[in-house]
């Protein structure tokens, strides 16, 4: 972008245009004035010539004398062979010129010609005698010259005045530009929230100001979003490290105990089992953290499977665990193209969540729904408040912060489950219970169908009893 001084440019251009206009006007007026003066002169010559017709009974000489007046020179010429010029206005010499005979009235009107810038009127008084009236062009010239001088001085004064006044006027006119610069400078220096708020957004400066505001809005929005993302990442890292600390502290405390105390075999084994369990818990946490950080770019290795088998396997896996909830499977069967391990992980997460919330029963109910199959995972726990139903899918959100140590996980289960389903083209949402659901939390899991397998309602299996 070329950035010459706008003020200097506007001043120079304005003064230049003004000077040019003044010049054009001056020349025009000069020409017009010249023409007017000339016409006047011609008219005067003609009236003087007609005066000559009126003045009869005068000698040529006195006629010439009478007709000569300021600006007009009268001469009488006599044709003598080659046409010599005779008779110029002279001091009166009476009797010298012969009395012209009458009959001049028949003479034609004067003819006016222009010779070398001077107007010359010639009128035949008598045959061979011609009155020649010459207008003095010097007077017209002098008048024009005076006009030109006045015009030149006035123009110069006008241009000079414009050159002095324009910058002052421009400074005022360019004040909004200064404001824009100030706003930009303040924003660059770290100031936020500054807006120009143009009063007239349709004007040229208004448009610039509107765009400027829009740009600031966009920049500050982007900055804000970046800060929020950094904050979220920071919180995530801090939460992740805290989550890892608890199993690490347990492992450390257990190992210290083994060093410090002579334990009998049974006690030692118990401590060692707990140490291993905590180590694995930390390992799972690390796996989950890695998984959750990669959810966006996850690829799944899918194979066609019976949804019902997947649900039943997940239910069976919970059964032998102490304190595990009772999981029942019911509803339609369907063929889905899934990575069975990942879907099992999703179901295990959902069941573990229900158990962590205090649920004793979990119901997995599949319903065909167009090109999808919907699995309603309901439990008899306290449920999830409506207000919390979207945040539970954020990383590291636990509705009961105390629950982590009790086996509720690090708040990664639901975001992971949702991410894994998304990788399968499915979805996961938290919804209201409907008839048939258990009264607690209901998570609605959707997967695209490959082909509906015999859409028949299977009888509900007997709930798998824990313990």
């Amino acid at each position: 972008m070329r950035t010459p001084s706008l003020r200097r440019r506007v001043v120079l251009w304005s003064v230049g245009v003004l000077a040019l206009l003044l010049l054009v006007v001056g020349v025009g007026v000069d020409l017009a004035l010249g023409a007017v003066l000339k016409a006047e002169q011609r008219q005067r010559l003609e009236s003087v010539a007609s005066l000559a017709d009126a003045l009869t009974g005068l000698s040529d000489q006195s006629l010439a004398d009478r007709l000569s007046m300021p600006g007009i020179e009268a001469r009488i010429t006599y044709r003598s062979g080659g046409g010599a010029v005779v008779g110029t206005p002279q001091p009166r010499e009476p009797g010298r010129a012969p009395r012209p005979p009458a009959g001049r009235s028949s003479a034609p009107d004067a003819t006016v010609t222009e010779v070398g810038g001077s107007l010359i009127a010639t009128e035949a008084l008598r045959p061979g005698v011609t009155l020649v009236l010459t207008a003095d062009s010097g007077q017209t010239e002098a008048e024009l010259a005076r006009f030109r001088a006045i015009m030149a001085i006035a123009s110069a004064a006008a241009v000079a005045l414009a050159a002095v006044l324009l910058p002052l006027v421009l400074r005022r006119a360019m004040r909004p530009l200064g404001e824009l610069t100030r706003a930009a400078r303040e924003t660059a220096a770290g100031g936020r929230g500054r807006r120009l708020a143009p009063r007239n957004p349709a004007s040229d400066l208004g448009r610039a100001a509107t765009q400027f505001d829009a740009m600031l809005e966009e920049l500050e929005g982007a900055e804000h979003r970046a800060e929020e993302a950094a904050d979220r990442l920071g919180r995530f890292l801090s939460d992740a490290s805290h989550e890892l600390r608890t199993p690490l502290a347990a492992v450390s405390a257990g190992a210290e105990r083994l060093i410090r105390e002579p334990l009998d075999d049974a006690d030692r084994d118990r401590v060692l089992v707990q140490v291993v369990r905590e180590t694995r818990r930390a390992g799972r946490l690390v796996d989950d953290l890695l998984l959750v950080s990669r959810l966006g770019e996850l690829t799944v290795d899918t194979r066609e499977r019976s949804l019902r088998c997947l649900l039943q396997e997940a239910a069976d896996r919970v059964a032998p665990r102490r304190d595990g909830p009772t999981v029942s499977v019911s509803g339609d069967d369907a063929t889905v193209a899934v990575d069975a391990g990942r879907i099992d992980q999703v179901l295990a997460n959902l069941i573990a969540n229900a158990a962590a919330a205090g649920a004793r029963r979990v119901r997995l109910h599949a319903v065909l729904d167009g090109a999808e199959v919907a699995v309603r995972v309901s439990d008899d726990g306290p449920g999830i408040p409506v207000a919390a139903r979207s945040v539970v899918f954020d990383r590291m959100v636990r509705l009961d912060p105390a629950r982590s140590a009790a086996g509720g996980g690090a708040g990664l289960g639901l975001p992971i489950a949702r991410g894994l389903l998304a990788a399968h083209g499915g979805s996961l949402a938290c919804v209201d219970p409907v008839a048939g659901d258990l009264p607690g939390a209901v998570l609605l899991l959707r997967l695209p169908l490959v082909a509906a397998a015999e859409p028949r309602l299977l009888p509900s299996t007997e709930p798998v009893r824990a313990r």
Partner: protein, 234 residues
């Protein structure tokens, strides 16, 4: 057991992680405290009323309605009870919240159990609920000023020698292996086991300038501090 600590300060441990709870309780038991451990705060008022603790070790994140901070407030309302928090959260805001809830100390996980025991002692000593002086016959250790006197004569100990002696004194009568001494006195970094021998012999030399040998080597096992009882000395 030889030379149990005369005072038997009572420590209540509330920690839901079984490994931490048992390890801390065991260490406190060994250090001569009477302990009571529970996994959550649900029965805490009743437990506290019955056990009458001198100090409570509270995990901050606990299952159940009240977290450690809430339990601390409840405990302090009933009785003037010093509290040490165990927590995985170590942000400045978390620490401030802890001290705001009336923490006498704030220990971030993972911690070294022996350090936690030392902090328990320090809090109790500060509050006058534990004698400032360890009395081992002719050897007296003032744990507040870190002064050691044997048979009336002050000993000039280095900081490491002092920590070694204090640990041996707290575990007096027990045979302590080099590994135990190394980890509890120096920590869990990879130190040379010879450090223990070098410092034990230096400490022993200083101790024996003023009396008979009390820091004994048990061949193949480690070291043991056996103070001279008044009765034995006589």
């Amino acid at each position: 057991m030889v030379g149990r600590m005369p005072s038997s300060a009572r420590v209540l441990v509330v920690e839901d992680d079984v490994l931490i709870r048992e390890s801390v309780t065991a260490a406190l038991d060994r250090a001569g405290f009477a302990t009571c451990a529970v996994a959550d705060g649900s029965q805490l008022p009743a437990v506290a009323a019955e056990f009458r603790p001198d100090l409570a070790l509270l995990d901050v994140t606990l299952p159940g309605p009240a977290d450690g901070f809430g339990l601390a407030r409840a405990l302090r309302r009933d009785r003037d009870l010093p509290v040490i928090f165990l927590t995985a959260r170590d942000g400045a805001a978390d620490r401030l919240a802890g001290f705001g809830a009336g923490a006498d100390d704030y220990v971030v996980k993972p911690f070294i159990v022996e350090e936690l025991v030392a902090r328990v002692r320090a809090v109790l000593r500060r509050l006058g609920r534990l004698p400032a002086t360890l009395d081992l016959g002719d050897l007296k250790i003032d744990e507040q000023s870190a002064e050691v006197v044997r048979a009336g004569a002050g000993l000039e100990l280095t900081a490491t020698e002092y920590r070694l002696l204090a640990y041996l004194a707290h575990e007096r009568g027990r045979i302590l292996s080099k590994t135990q001494l190394l980890t509890q006195v120096w920590g869990y970094d990879d130190y040379d086991a010879n450090l223990v021998e070098v410092h034990v012999s230096a400490l022993r030399r200083k101790l024996e300038e003023h009396g008979p040998r009390i820091l004994h080597t048990v061949r193949g096992f480690g070291y043991v501090l056996r103070p001279i009882d008044g009765a034995q000395a006589a």
